[in-house]
Amino acid sequence: MRIGQRNIEWMLPLLTLLLLAVGLVALYSASDAAGVDYFKRQFIYLGIGTFLFILLALIPYRIIFAFSFIFYTIVLMLLVLVLLVGTGPTGRWLGVGAFHIQPSELAKLAVILALARFLSDSRNDIQQFRHLAAYAFLAALPFGLILIEPDLGTSLVIPFLAAAIAFWGGIPMLTVVLVLSLPTVMISSINPYALVAVIGGIVLYAYLAGVRISLALVWGIAAGFFGWLTPVLWNQLHDYQRQRLLTFINPEVDPLGAGYQLIQSKIAVGSGRFWGKGFMEGSQTQGGFLPEQHTDFIFSVIGEEWGFAGTIIVVGLFWLLVVRLLYLALKVESGFSSYVLLGVATTLGFQVFVNIGMTTGIMPVTGLPLPLISYGGSSLLTLMMMLGISTGMGARWKGRG
């Protein structure tokens, strides 16, 4: 490994290939049960995806840097367009005839590139409020457009990855605490003692971090106000609205509506036990008990047919992929590359956690696909593009010297 020479980044492509293979096996099973050939169609997407992966891995990252805002603008326009003329079962598709794309998937990559480019520009200093505001605006625009589609699951990825990139980009610790204090206060408002303790902690932290005591107290009062407001707002909601929120957080209170998928999915995963029921042998999968088993709930197919042995390997592969991306983010010398790698890592990690959490009943049912494994062209192509770019960037860090 010599300084300045290109390394071959083989880990990312290898992990990608392994996960894709797992996905195809699971999809074959699910596809057969549904009587529709999702399997063959996925192969076509895979062909295009591989081409994009290789292409983007070979392109110098400066070209990607140069195109990032253009790409961002195009995706924004597509997001507006999908609101106006969206088709498909949920109105999230855009396209003509048999070919359609889901712009909300592309938006993830667009936001990562735009934010990375913004932060890597030395004129922008995220420690300054107006630059932070501009940064937040870049993320909020596509977030809002996806949220009103409505596609809650996909939209939530964006604030998460934006926060992670900003955190890596050196946002002041105080701002981090300020942002985090709001949800913390809202959650802790269930218990008055907890609320007091949390607010006390926030004020103390602010004071220790060098904020003037008066300002820290104002902050504490504001947080207290939010804490007081939360139950008031909650009581203002109609019964059915509260019911909906509760069902969202814990679907099992509605076993035949929102909870149906979840219960069936848990039965599928749990009944797989340690070694699984075997390929094409899952009675939940093959019996058609699992809704959406080729897309959002494909992990339950793996769980049922391959058991804990299979699921732990899949989780392990994803963990390796995420950690490898984060490791590369630390190693690369270009700021832009580092932010992109970190954005891709957090996007992947978030989606894997939310999706597997959903199929195993610890996260709400939001409709996020499992990266590289769920059926779906737009999701797969976007991920292949992300990982292709990451591979290219990962190959260009200088050795320790």
Binding site: A164, W168, G170, G270, G288, G307
Partner: protein, 610 residues
């Protein structure tokens, strides 16, 4: 990173730590589900299975304007078999095969249609008889994995209105992506009223929550869970008059042709007949390739709804519109006259009048009454294409009427632009001659002809024709929204002239339909002949009673040659039937009455008129 500070590196390690915690949470969760609690879930997967069974809603019924039921539903029992259950139980298979009388080979072929998914029930028989249903239900305990699904089916009670009512079918996978809120396999209207009014008729699916055993056999309901009942579709009340429709279709017989009748004051369609047709249940069942091919390639084109999709040159029924255009634009006045010598020489071409002997000096009255072509050749020439097009298009020629049926034809009303495009700048006056008598390029559907006649009957008020009077939810009837209506820009004097001239067609001494004269009702009409490569098509349009029109009719008989002989008698019979005038009495005393009337009329003709 160049600006990487120790502080910053810590942040990245922190992120790696967070991510790792996330993945540890997942791993622990999987460990709990798949190892620690797996026995519970295994048990649940083997015994306690829940299946959501969709319940198709009852599709709305259709009634005619007098509340006669036209379209009904009936349950069809579909025999379903779970492949895994029947494979594991050869005795049950033998019992079943003996009951349904199917060869084992054929049975296996049907079972195997869906690939290896052994748990999903497969349809073996469609619409089974009640006796077979009862026989299988009796032996149910010996037949694991055998069940029935009830699908509502459509019954079209009369062999009438085939094209208009349309048909239903399953939404195709490829189309489902374009329809929000619908899934592939949902039953939707695919043509006719069933298609256009699908949203009202369809209703909403319901759901049952059933417990099923390992082979997918339903054990029972899930306790303490209320099923979601389906919402029935709304019934639809058509403006069609069943008796009049039946009569019209009988009158057309197997002649290709069409009858359209409209209530002028409302635009409600009373009759919409098109022949030849096909049995209404044709598309309810699976068509074989040969059956479909035969229907498509039939030279009589039974699949075409001639009333709204068939277009023909209007011939002389167009002449009221052309005369109206002449008078309204003051191109001519009522005294304008031409001399008809049986035709007109234009350049090198002789344009003949249908009457070779000629009509002599012709004013507007005779021009309509005896349908003189020369009068209209010259009127067309004087009008010019632009005025011609503007004036005639207000009757709706050349555009869709907006009736609540799919795939309506626009017909064709040529404009100057059309001719320039088609024939270049020097298109000839001959084209104008032709369209002035409703021949050549002009094309009109029977529905457009009826709407035009209804508009004249209704003193120039044009109403969008429509087939649905209202929707019925339970016992409450909701009338449909007001239809689009406008007044054509013809002065009432002009319309009065047109109406009076139409009356002369059936009452005047030279009227082309005077032989049909019925003293019990004043009919304003017009005959027409659409020139055709083969035998000509016959047209007749009419409204009656003259003073207070209750019905406007357009009749087209393909290859009928003469409007007065082939089409007009049908129109008269439809009018008489609608107005409650007995047909038999008329046929019996017809000649006696006509002779008396003729004498009286001759006496009248001798006294000078204004």
């Amino acid at each position: 990173m160049s600006e990487t500070a120790q502080f910053s590196r810590l942040r990245l390690f922190f992120l790696i730590f967070i991510m790792t915690v996330f993945f540890l949470i997942l791993s622990y969760r999987l460990l709990r589900l798949q190892v620690m609690q797996s026995e519970t879930y295994l048990q649940q997967s083997e015994t306690n299975r829940m299946r959501i069974v969709e319940v198709a809603p009852l599709r709305g019924l259709m009634f005619d304007r007098n509340q006669n039921l036209l379209v009904d539903n009936y349950p069809s029992y579909e025999l379903m078999v779970v492949p895994k259950a029947i494979h594991e139980n050869p005795a049950a298979k033998d019992t079943l095969l003996a009951l349904i009388g199917l060869e084992e080979e054929e049975f296996d072929r049907r079972l195997g249609r869906i690939r290896k998914n052994l748990y999903k029930p497969v349809r073996i028989l469609h619409d089974v008889s009640f006796s077979l249903y009862a026989a299988i239900e009796e032996r149910k305990i010996y037949l694991p994995g055998v069940s029935f699904e009830v699908h509502p089916k459509r019954a079209y009670l009369y062999n009438l209105l085939t094209h208009t009512l349309g048909h239903i079918g399953e939404l195709k996978e490829s189309d489902s992506q374009r329809r929000r809120g619908l899934e592939a396999g949902d039953i939707i209207g695919l043509s006719g009223i069933e298609q256009v009014w699908n949203d009202s008729l369809m209703g909403k699916k319901g759901y049952l929550y059933k417990e099923v055993d390992v082979v997918g056999r339903i054990i029972g309901d899930i306790p303490n869970v209320a099923p979601i009942p389906p919402v029935e579709g709304a019934d639809i009340i058509l403006s069609i008059d069943l008796e009049l429709q039946r009569y019209s279709e009988e009158l057309l017989g197997e002649n290709p042709g069409s009858v359209v009748a409209i209530e002028p004051a409302t635009g409600e369609v009373l009759v919409l007949a098109s022949k030849p047709d096909y049995p209404p249940e044709t598309f309810a069942n699976v068509l074989t390739q040969e059956q479909w091919k035969a229907l498509q390639e039939d030279p009589d084109t039974p699949l075409i709804h001639r009333a709204v999709q068939g277009v023909y040159p209007p011939g002389s029924i167009f002449k009221m519109g052309v005369l109206g255009a002449g008078l309204q634009t003051a191109t001519i006045d009522t005294n304008w006259s031409v001399t008809c010598v049986g035709g007109y020489q234009l350049g090198r071409r002789w344009f003949k009048c249908w009457n070779k002997a000629g009509h002599g000096e012709v004013k507007h009255r005779t021009a309509i009454e005896s349908s003189c072509d020369v009068y209209f050749y010259l009127l067309g020439l004087k009008l010019g294409i632009d005025k011609f097009h503007t004036q005639l298009s207000q009757f709706g020629f050349g555009s869709k009427t907006g009736i609540d049926l799919p795939h309506e034809s626009e017909g064709l009303l040529p404009s100057g632009q059309y001719f320039r495009k088609r024939y270049g700048e020097n298109w000839s006056e001959g084209h104008l001659f032709n369209i002035a008598i409703g021949q050549g390029e002009v094309l009109v559907s029977p529905l457009q002809a009826a709407v035009y006649t209804a508009c004249l009957a209704n003193n120039g008020w044009w109403k969008t024709p429509h087939l649905v009077k209202g929707t019925k939810h339970g016992e409450t009837i909701f009338p449909v929204d007001e239809v689009e209506t406008h007044k054509v820009s013809l002065d009432s004097e002009v319309i009065d002239i047109l109406r009076r001239d139409m009356l002369r067609v059936t009452e005047g001494p030279r009227g082309t339909a005077k032989w049909l004269y019925d003293p019990r009702v004043q009919v304003a009409g017009k005959t027409g002949t659409a020139q055709n490569a083969g035998e000509d098509h016959a047209w007749f349009v009419a409204f009656a009673p003259y003073d207070d029109p209750k019905i406007a009719v357009a009749v087209l008989v393909e290859f009928g040659e003469h409007g007065s002989t082939a089409a007009a008698p049908i129109a008269y019979k439809v009018i008489r039937k609608h107005l409650g005038l007995d047909e038999e009495t008329w046929q019996q005393y017809r000649w006696k009455i006509i002779r008396e009337q003729q004498a009286a009329r001759e006496a009248l003709e001798e006294t000078p008129q204004e």
